[in-house]
């Protein structure tokens, strides 16, 4: 194995691991101020939304808000299923089926 690639992989693993571990290791030792805890409570909703929006609306790196966008159509169906049933598994099945049907028959 090329030494340069080994060096790159080890470097990458360090800069990936530290952001994953340090905040948990450090912050869990302290009683955090209420305002900061409240801020942290918004992180799940904010981060999921920030990850999803480009994945759904910019599938090939361009913003596509139309029926040409299969991921968008499937996502709307998933949102409806999730809001109505609160069932993760069902939502995923609907999403995969919708994508399969759209990609195969559209």
């Amino acid at each position: 194995m090329e030494q340069k690639i080994l060096f790159i992989i080890i470097g990458m693993s360090l800069v990936t691991y530290l952001p994953r571990a340090l905040p948990l290791l450090v912050l869990s030792k302290f009683e955090l101020p209420l305002l900061f805890r409240r801020w942290l409570q918004f992180i799940p909703v904010a981060v999921l939304s920030a990850l999803l929006a480009p994945a759904i609306l910019m599938p090939q790196g361009r913003l596509v808000i139309s029926l040409d966008n299969n991921a968008l159509i499937a996502s709307v169906l998933c949102f409806l299923a999730a809001a109505k049933t609160k069932n993760i598994f069902l939502t995923i099945v609907i999403g995969i089926l919708a994508m399969f049907v759209l990609q195969t028959f559209k």
Binding site: I8, T16, A46, S49, A53, I88, F89, G95
Partner: protein, 230 residues
């Protein structure tokens, strides 16, 4: 078997479903770009970060210098700091050594499942161990399989199975939206994330959008005087 461990194993199914086609795709591509099977294994095991692995593999092939590759990886994965911080309030009872191990398996997808579980149950480390181990294994195995099988499978993502991850995010997002402030934060975060992706490309969008949207959420809560600074 421990009940929490079982729950963790069960909750890993969507993650495994999503990681498999993407992992295969990475393995195939990395193999074409000249990485050996062992290098693919090592990268998936140690780095374990989808987007940055795709980018790094392409950068290695085009001979970009190692420092730039590592800096790009850092930039893309800084968003995990926020996820790690958000888990910290729920894992105070877990010893540091175990926290260090659990952090190794923190990805966008495992975080989404972790935090949903934390809010519903008294979090047990066994749950995290089950979920993180299986998800990590699925990533390593599928990328290595992609590297070995190479061109025998044509575009593993064409069936849309990788959409399992977006669908899972949608379901979990809906479960976390409890009041108007949450909806506001979700909408702001989505809009900011799209704008930043357009302006700066991938990388900064998730971390900046999340921080800004959470700040908007706290500010509105304060404005509405729902939460006092006691």
């Amino acid at each position: 078997m421990n009940r929490d461990l079982m729950t963790g194993l069960k909750k890993s199914i969507p993650v495994v479903l999503g990681y498999t086609p993407i992992g295969l795709a990475f393995g195939i591509l990395a193999n074409q770009q000249g990485l050996t099977t062992f290098e693919i294994f090592l990268m998936s095991f140690l780095v374990y970060a989808g987007a940055s692995q795709f980018i790094a593999s392409a950068m290695i092939t085009s001979g970009v210098n190692p420092a730039s590759i590592i800096m790009t990886t850092l930039l893309i994965n800084m968003r995990h700091m926020l996820m790690s911080a958000s888990l910290s309030t729920y894992l105070k009872h877990v010893p540091s050594s175990l926290q260090a191990v659990l952090s190794f398996g923190l990805t966008d997808e495992t975080y989404a499942v972790d935090i949903t579980y934390c809010r519903e149950d008294k979090p047990s480390a066994s749950f995290f161990i089950g979920l993180h181990t299986v998800s990590h294994a699925a990533w390593v195995i599928s990328t290595v399989a992609g590297g070995i099988l190479g061109n025998l499978i044509s575009d593993p993502t064409r069936w849309g199975i990788d959409f399992a991850l977006s669908a899972m995010f949608i379901a979990l997002l809906c479960m976390h939206m409890k009041d108007k402030a949450d909806v506001l934060v979700a909408v702001c975060s989505a809009v900011i994330s799209i704008l930043l992706t357009k302006l700066l490309g991938n990388g900064w969008n998730v971390i900046l959008a999340t921080m800004l949207a959470a700040t908007i959420g706290v500010s509105t809560s304060l404005w509405n005087r729902k939460y006092y600074l006691s």
